[in-house]
Each structure stands twice: as C-alpha cells, then as structure tokens.
C-alpha cells in the first residue's frame, strides 16, 4: 500500500500535512524482516494513554530514567505473570530418576486451554467521521463508444473573434478617457480665456483710469487757468479804475494848493513875526494899560456918579418937599 502523504506549503504560507489514514504498524525493535502485522494501538508505546491534562514535561535527563522505570515495570509485570503461571496446577514433578519429556503424541498439536479461540470482529463507526460520500455510481458500460476531439482552429479563430470584444472594451475606455481629457482641456481653455480677458480688462482699466485722471487734470488745469484769467482781468480793471481815479484826483486837486495857501493867508496863518509879536505882546499890554487907565477913569466917573447919586438921593426928599410946597 502506498503511503501518500502530503507536506506542502498552504496557500497562505502555513505548513500543512495530510495523509491517507493508515493503521499503525507494529515494528519489532530490530527490524530484520518486513513485519506487516498491525499492532494494537492501545499497547503501542508511542501512544499516550490516560489523562493528558497533567502531563509532565520531561527533560532529556529524565527520559532515560523514565525508560528505565518502564523497563522495571515491565519486568515486574513479567514476574507477576510468571508467578501466576507457577501457581497454576500443572503436571506433578517427575519421580526421581525420571525425566519428563515433552512428546508430541498426536499428529497435530493442539493447545488445551479453556479459552475458546475466538476471533473478535468489531466494527464501529467513528462518531466524528462525516458520512462518507456515496461511491460514484458508474453504471455498466452500454452502447457504443464515440469520441470526438476539437482540434485547434476548428471552433473559432480566437484572434478574429476577440477583435470586436477588444474593440468595444478599448473603445469604451478610450472614449471615456477622451471625454475626461477633453473636459479638462475645456476647463483649461476656459481658464486661459478668463485669464486673458482679465489681463486685458486690467490693462484697459488702467488706461481708462489714466485717461480719466488726465481728463481730470486737464479740467482742473483749465479751471485754474480760467480762474487765473478772471483774476487777471479783474486786476486789470482795477488798475484802469485806479489810473482814472488818480488822473481825476490829480486834476481836481491841481489848484488845491494855491487855494489852500490863499485861504490860509486869508485866515492869517502866514504872519509877520514882528507884527505878530507886536500884536501878541505889545497890544495886549497897551490895551491892558489903556484898559486900566480907562478903568481908573471909569472908576472915577462911577465914583462921581455914585457921589452925585448919593447927593441926589439925599437931596431928593428935600426937593420933593420943595416941589410939593411950592405947589401949594
């Protein structure tokens, strides 16, 4: 029977091993001939029986000791079996001088034992195994065998048939990409156009501003000039008026001076100093003297007058008496 085992690297790199199920062989320690008896798995040294939960992990030094212990155990069991056999009743011992000899009396050797030779056959389904697949039903062959084989190039020519498929696939892809590229180009064109327009607009705007500014400057200049002109005209007019006024005034005041002098002379502002002096100093003194003389005379006359008046007054009642008496 061939042993097919498969060690391979799995699809994901992990190590897998699988082999066909085969029974464990019972090999003698020193293999001389190919023993193909199948040993009982329960008495196989390689199989661990019992509880594995508390399995001791042995180091390599202990391994030899364990083997020794196993050997001891085995010998003890063998001894036990031996003693058991000895205890069993067998033929009595030979009388002295005689020796028992084993002799085959029958033709065929027969083992006498109470054990009936049985052969046990057990069959048990493994509860964990899946139901095996039903064997393929291969019906008996009936009818005629007919075979057919399609050679290369009989069904279709791949290169020719694949053309339309390829055309559609590649065409669609290229169409889509063309659309995208055209869209991008369109956008780029639009943007470039916008940029150009903006540049032109800015330049023209600057031009407009410049012209506006120029216009403003010219206008302001004009206004200034007009204002200046107006100012000049006004100044000129003023000058003309001034000149006319001056001429007139000059003419008007031409004979002012002699008139003034004349009137001054008339009013006596020009004087002869001696005369003035005489007038100012001499005459007042003279007049004062005259005045005083006259005063004196006046005083005298007044005195006289008062005297006369007094006398007259005194004489008045007399005369009044006289006047009344004569009339009587």
């Amino acid at each position: 029977m061939s042993f097919v085992s498969r060690n391979q690297k799995g699809t994901n790199g992990t190590y897998t091993f699988s082999s066909r199920p085969r029974p464990v062989e019972n090999r003698s320690k020193y293999r001389e001939k190919a023993h193909s008896t199948y040993g009982n798995i329960m008495y196989d040294r390689r199989v661990i029986r019992g509880n594995t939960y508390a399995q001791r992990f042995l180091s390599t030094e202990d391994l030899a000791e364990m083997q020794r212990q196993q050997e001891l155990r085995r010998r003890a069991i063998a001894q036990k079996n031996k003693t058991k056999e000895q205890l069993r009743s067998s033929t009595p011992e030979a009388v002295q001088g005689r020796k028992h000899n084993v002799v085959q009396t029958e033709l065929y050797l027969e083992e006498l034992s109470y054990n009936i030779e049985l052969s046990h056959i057990e069959c048990q389904t493994d509860p964990l195994l899946d139901r095996p697949a039903t064997p393929l039903f291969i019906p008996a062959k009936s009818g005629k065998d007919v075979a057919t084989q399609i050679e290369d190039g009989e069904l279709f020519d791949f290169d020719r048939e694949v053309q339309p498929l390829l055309e559609v696939l590649i065409g669609k892809t290229i169409e889509q990409s063309l659309l995208e590229v055209m869209e991008e180009e369109e956008l780029a064109c639009l943007r470039a156009q916008q940029r150009a327009f903006q540049e032109l607009r800015n330049a023209e705007l600057a031009e407009v501003q410049r012209l506006q500014e120029q216009e403003r400057r010219h206008r302001e200049e004009k206004e200034r000039r007009i204002a200046q002109q107006r100012e000049a005209l006004r100044m000129e007019k003023e000058t003309v008026e001034k000149i006319a006024a001056r001429a007139y005034t000059q003419q008007y005041l031409a004979d002012l001076v002699p008139t003034v002098f004349q009137s001054l002379r008339i009013h006596g502002f020009f004087y002869d100093p001696v005369e003035k002096d005489i007038e100012t100093n001499f005459f007042p003194w003279l007049m004062a003297e005259v005045n005083s003389k006259l005063e004196k005379r006046n005083a005298a006359r007044q005195l006289l007058d008062t005297l006369i008046h007094d006398v007259a007054q005194k004489k008045l009642p007399l005369y009044t008496n006289l006047e009344t008496r004569p009339e009587k």
Binding site: I41, I121, A133
Partner: protein, 395 residues
C-alpha cells in the same frame, strides 16, 4: 441510540477493521483543512474576495447601482455613527467627479442635506463635506444652487473651525465660488470677515490658506473694492507682499492691483510706502508675481503722487528692461504678455509727467519697436502705440 461499548481487549488482540469501499473513497479525498477561527478581515487573507475578485475598500461605503447610488448614499448620511457617515461621504466624493451624478445630486435637491453635516461634531466629516462641496463647485448649476442655498452662511462659520484641514477646504470652496461674478457679489458681505481672517492668519503661517484668502479677496475686490478698502485693505495686503512664498506674493500683488482701481486706494498706496515693495517685486523670479506687481504699479501711477514716487524710486529702467526682454519660447511669451501689457500701461502713465516724458523720449525706439508688426500680439501693439502717442505729445 445504540452506542457500541468498547470491550477490554486482551494483549495480543488487534482491532480488526473491515475496510469497505466507502473507506477507500473517503481516504481518496484530500483532507480539508478545517478553519476553527475566523480570520480578521485583512486584505491579504480574505479568501472570499480572492475567490470572487471584488476589491472591497474599507474606507468607502458600497455604492448601489444606477440611479439609486446617490439617494442611497445620502440616506446613509443621517446615520448616528460617524464612521459610516465618513465612508458614505468618501464614496460620494468619488462619485461626484462624474458630471451626470453631479447633476443628479443638484437637481434632486440633496445639497441642503449637506448643511446638517457642516455642523457635525466630527472634524473629519466636516472636512469631507467641504471637499465634496469643492468638487461640486466645478460645475455651474451646482454653483448657482450653492449660492442660493443657506450653505454659504454655514461655510462662513466654518472658516473659524478648530481643525486646520477643514479651514483649508472651506477656503478652497470660497475661492472657487468667488471666481464666478455672482459668487463674488454674494461674498461681498463676507469681505470684512475675510479681512479679519487675513489679519489673524499672520500668526498662523498657513500658506495655502493665506493664498486662497488673498485670491478670494482679489476676486471680490474686482467687483467692488470699497469694502476691502474700508477695512484697512491696503496695509494688510501690503504686509503680505514681502512674504517668502511666491504664491502668496502673487496673490497679494493681484489683490493690490484689484484694490488700486479706486482713487482713494491709490493715494493710500502712496502714503503707506507700498510702492518700494512693489518695485522690488518687479525683480522677482516668478513671472506672475512680476506681472501682478507691474499691474499694481500701473494702477497707482495714474495719480500724480504715484508718478512722482515711482520716478524717485527709479522704476523706469526696470520697466523698460522688462519690455526689452524677449523670450524665444512662444509659451513663455504668452505668459509674459500680461507683464508686457502692464509695463506699457505703466510707462504710458509715467510719460505724462514731464520728467518721465523726458527720459522716455530717449527710449522711444524701444517703444516704437513694440508697436510695429514684428510684434505678433495686437493688444501689445495697441498699447505701445498709445504709449508712443503720449510720449511724443506736445501741448
């Protein structure tokens, strides 16, 4: 049930088993390796998927077939378990790349359900929702729907989110919305908040967020620069002009260009001494940064103070050098077109000042060269001709 009793066997006896045909058949079949334990669903050892060939991605929810895909996924979005919501969102993000699905999402009104998710407690869910919204804004119908829904207010609240990734995504959505004029108009109300964010972000040093923020601001300011100006726009953006990252510089220069269209801004720029920084940016490595800086300068030199400052800073030779450079590569020339245009316009404005005119008269051949047919681009020719006219103008 009858169970056979094992009899004590005597030594020497062997168990004789009758081997039947059944045994032979049984032993012929290979022994199956029995699996006692269930292997964890690891991608490598999952036998089922190997057998059927389906690739299961554990981070995405399974997608139903056909037109039920989107409604099914949206139904999963209201589940209490955050992990499942996340997976459904991941699948949705994958699906919305397809315009048909996107149309389905928008037309069947599922966008409003996303509003609840934006208030979700889990940061990953919020981030994914913002990503989904960003994908959605790549199409016009979705943008319109988004603008007319209350999602915008919710998004603006997300700008203050504790998770930085969520903030970045929300900024991305805002940016793509602002590119649309209607979106820019809708976002005008948010400009003060964005300016505040700009001020805060100085300490954050998150470059992508800053770049996105500046880009959004420049889009909004193109429509109307007044709100940004009134919130100290010039000073804040001026500080970003000298940032290390070229993206941020480019966006800041672009925002400055958009702002300086208004006269008030021009005078603010002159006062805030931003012009020297802009002049430095003209010598930058990146073409876009140079172009934007030239644009900002071109806008600022319209007013007289700007002109004088630029002439003092000696910007004229730099601009002329930029004009005279011609790259052999056609693509490079295309990219430099903006730069050349802006430089020409700046030179035109500078030529109005007497000092500038005097110096440009010496360089007249260069300008004439750009206005003649050897120059391919009609716009550049036109600009050059205007410049020549202005330079050679006499009262």
């Amino acid at each position: 049930m009858f169970t056979p009793v094992a009899r004590q066997r005597l030594p020497g006896e062997q168990l004789k088993t009758i081997r039947t045909k059944a045994d032979r058949v049984t032993s012929l079949t290979p022994r199956r390796r029995s699996r006692r334990t269930v292997a964890p669903p690891d991608r490598r050892t999952l036998d089922i998927s190997e057998m059927t060939g389906v690739h299961i991605d554990p981070s995405r929810a399974p997608v139903a077939f056909g037109r039920l895909a989107i409604p099914e996924l949206f139904a999963q979005l209201v589940e209490p378990d955050a992990a499942r919501r996340l997976r459904a969102l991941a699948s949705l993000c994958d699906l919305t790349h397809d315009p048909e699905r996107l149309y389905q999402v928008v037309s069947e009104g599922f966008l409003d359900q996303l509003e609840v998710l934006l208030k979700d407690g889990d940061a990953a869910v919020r981030t994914r929702t913002c990503e989904l919204l960003h994908l959605v804004t790549s199409h016009n119908i979705a943008r319109q729907a988004l603008l007319s829904s209350p999602l915008l207010a919710r998004l603006s609240q997300l700008l203050d989110d504790p998770s930085p990734l969520c903030r970045t995504r929300a900024h991305r959505v805002m940016n793509s919305l602002a590119l649309l004029p209607a979106g820019a108009k809708a976002l005008q109300a948010l400009v003060p908040k964005l300016m505040l964010k700009l001020q805060e972000e100085q300490e954050e040093k998150e470059e992508e967020v800053q770049a996105l923020l500046l880009s959004t601001l420049s889009c909004c300011s193109r429509l109307d620069a007044a709100p940004a100006l009134s919130h100290r726009g010039v000073t804040l953006i001026g500080r970003k002009l000298s940032h290390a990252c070229s993206n941020i510089r480019r966006e800041a220069a672009g925002a400055m260009m958009a702002l300086s269209v208004i006269v008030i801004a021009m005078s603010q720029v002159c006062e805030a001494a931003v012009l020297p920084v802009l002049a430095d940016l003209l010598r930058d490595q990146d073409v876009d940064v140079q172009a934007n800086a030239a644009g900002a300068i071109m806008n600022t030199v319209v007013i007289t103070t700007g002109k004088h400052q630029c002439l003092e800073l000696d910007v004229l030779p730099v601009l002329l050098e930029l004009l005279s450079q011609r790259k052999p590569d056609v693509e490079e020339e295309q990219r430099r077109k903006a730069l050349v245009l802006y430089s020409l316009r700046a030179l035109t404005s500078l030529a109005e000042a007497p000092e500038g005119r005097r110096r440009l008269l010496l360089q007249l051949p260069l300008l004439v060269g750009r206005s003649e047919p050897p120059e391919e681009d009609a716009d550049i020719r036109r600009a050059a001709r205007t410049a020549v006219n202005v330079v050679t103008w006499t009262p």
